[in-house]
Amino acid sequence: MTVPTVDAATPPKLAVENIQKTFFKSVKDDVVGIPVLNGVSLSVSQGEFVSVIGPSGCGKSTLLRIIDGLIQPEGGRVLVDGRIVSGPGSDRAVVFQYFGLYPWRSVLRNVEFGLELKGVPAKERQEIALENIAQVGLRGFENHYPHELSGGMRQRVGFARALSLDPQIILMDEPFSSVDEQTRELLQEQLLELWSATRKTILFITHSIDEAVYMANRVVVMGARPGRIVEEITVDLPHPRTSEVRALPRFGEIRAHAWEILKKGIRESAELNAAA
């Protein structure tokens, strides 16, 4: 499989144009602005798998929220299929960093939640939910409650919920961060299979350089404070990604390169902070 070529005539699936975001903080009697994103631009084509890495607090989750339409940027815009995003839409779904499950709902009812909001009839939404619960490997846990599940299982419930909405773009915020190493590899494999089967567009935030390179067609590296994109690395590794891919020398090269850039970004921001 190759990276889809971008046809100049059709707009990209997702376009992020020159995003500026500032959070405000009250300090004594005044407010100060903390710039979090400064001129972030990104273009993702249909069916692409893009990873985003960056130092903690550089604004990855904020970028994801802006793309979903949960918060509005001060400047710039987000386009999906060439249409400006002004709020959450059914073409996008988020898998939240903190799971975002409802403790009073069983696994099944949590997965059904989005469909329920859309007014999908009970029988139909249950069918869809059960299918997606099975998809993420949680069959048999339909009637459990989130507090009875491990972190990794909760994360998968959040994933099943996003899947059951059948979005075109899936926005994932460190989805495998609370999973142990073995489960993580299993989930990575499942996600890749699902991706190649459904051709969904995926934006995948992660802390792990290894994971970012292994999963994606492209790795976007962000720098800290205020967050911006320092470099985009095209991952020219073969598909399907299997554990052999990890052993390729090219894999190591790309990973080392990504780490170099990330380090530089961290160092620069430290100097910037020291100067300020």
């Binding site: 975002g100 939640f113 989005g114 909001l117």
Partner: protein
Amino acid sequence: MTTSLAHAAAREAAARRYVKRRNLAIRTGSIALLFLAWEIGGMFTPRIFLAPFHDTVLAFWKLTKDGTLLTATANSLSVLLAGLAISVVFGALLGLLMGRYLRFNWMIGPYVNGLYATPTVALLPVLSLWLGLYAGPKIAIVVLLAIFPIIKNTYAGVITVGQELLEPAVSMRASEFQIARLVIAPAIIPFVMAGLRLSVGRGIVGLVVGEFFTAQTGLGGLLVRYASSFRTAEMFVPIIVLVAAGYGLTSLVVLLQQRLAPWKETERDQGL
């Protein structure tokens, strides 16, 4: 290896059983001592001050048989439950509005906080002037004591319904009404219940005071009537029922709390 482990476990289990039994024995002994002192004290004290414990037991039986106790209890419970029901409904509603609408909070927040800190029993005389002699002022004073913990807890609940619960719903395009019904309402139930648990005790205080000082009905009425005629054996009967009612209702709320919100560790009892 396994056998010695099994031995150790068995020994440990036996030791724990022993501690449990011993604790139970101490508790029973301790409480038995109270009744013994009551019995003996009652025998050597003039009846107008204290009657022996067994007289209270007999009085309990007599009052149960002739229906006095049942009538009084039903009377008191209906006032209490009416007051608590009103408190839950309006307390949860006010707390919800205060938490959800900043301006509403600015408007009534100071009064809610002020009245919560005020000993509202002070309003009883005027309530009984305004609301007459029947259940009105009693229910009103129960509400005035019981509603504030519920308002405060619900309010705290609403403002702690964090982004973690709201954001996914907004992301999935929930309407304001859907958010209220499907996210905020279930999320605040444990807080309402925590408030209600504090309210039970306060409500009973309101009930008793109301029954003392407006028309003397129910358990509180019985209590003053027996006290003023020095019938000390009978006097303890309504007190015992009130203690049991407080204990029973509180336990019921705790049980309900665990049933309705099993994900939430029951917060520690803060007293009141």
